[in-house]
Subunit: 181 residues, 2 copies
Amino acid sequence: MAATPVRERTRHEIVRQAMRLFQDRGYNATSLQDIASAAGCSKATVLYHFNGKPAVLAAVLEPAAADLAGLMDSAAGLSQAEAQEFAIQQFTDLAVRYRGVIDVLQDILPVIDEMPEIAQLVADGIRLTDLLAGSDDPLERDLAKFAINGLLGECRHPGERTDDELRNLCDIALRRILRSA
Amino acid sequence: MAATPVRERTRHEIVRQAMRLFQDRGYNATSLQDIASAAGCSKATVLYHFNGKPAVLAAVLEPAAADLAGLMDSAAGLSQAEAQEFAIQQFTDLAVRYRGVIDVLQDILPVIDEMPEIAQLVADGIRLTDLLAGSDDPLERDLAKFAINGLLGECRHPGERTDDELRNLCDIALRRILRSA
DNA sequence: TTGAAAACTGGCCGATCGGTCAGGAAGGAT
DNA sequence: ATCCTTCCTGACCGATCGGCCAGTTTTCAA
């Protein structure tokens, strides 16, 4: 088969279990041993495939980071008003699609600046906030940050809401707080 | 002097330094040794005055918890509409007054249910959410939770905003999202 | 001044953490 | 079957954590 399937299979299982555990207990409360046990391998194997615990986190966040980066590219040539509407729609969609992953971000925030592995994701997130603001007014920018914080918190406790319910809630909340409906 | 001033003096210094460190680095990233060093005593002394690390956290949160509890008492006999307006004003005020303490709560959230020491604070916080909703409509209740999450996040990074700026931002954001202005 | 209570401390404990390393097992091309 | 690469592991390391305890110092009322 293409390249080495065994390598990818193990890596994928590690990432899958890490995502599940990060969601359940948070990043800090999940040890490499926890991930290894859940993935059916040894802790040394996890560290063979990933260069440290932050690298595992980066792998977990990678699909969301890639989608967000693509989203920001698409918004490049838009006007401020267009970009805001685009951001509301696409970010709501992104939040729903990666609701579990977003949940993981919660207890990384205090040390997120010390994680070069996800610096691009953070940078894109900040740019998205600017788009959401739809204005250079400091108040509107703060409100956009307020909205994102609310949305991040709302993605916690997955399973309490269906995807459609979450999508609807996010859309309403963003439009109320951003005054663009 | 009244009772034992030496005891209270040490306890107070420990709590003061713990609050500062919890704000700066977060609860989990702050060790008992860090607190002890900052307070100018030994780790054993911290554990002599407080029955474990969660007890230190509870002491740090205590003033805010007491004010919140009093606030909930005051709202007892109000109508739903009155209670909502009351909640918006008082919670904004509370958030500003204890902005540092609220910041501390952030990285406790994943395990907040396993901390009996602050169960009352959590319970009052949930009741406050109900008041803010101003309605039994599930959507409005979710939006209230959304607003609280946004406000919690906004209290992060103290010092970037003055108290008045924060108060104004919270008031505007709450009224926009709760549709009660 | 004295002696008991309160306040405090150094040293130690078991557990757990992320991470390293030498070497064994598995797998595929020849 | 051979051999080299890839994959994987048990054992171990140093550091750090929260917490405990025996014993010392300080405080203060009698």
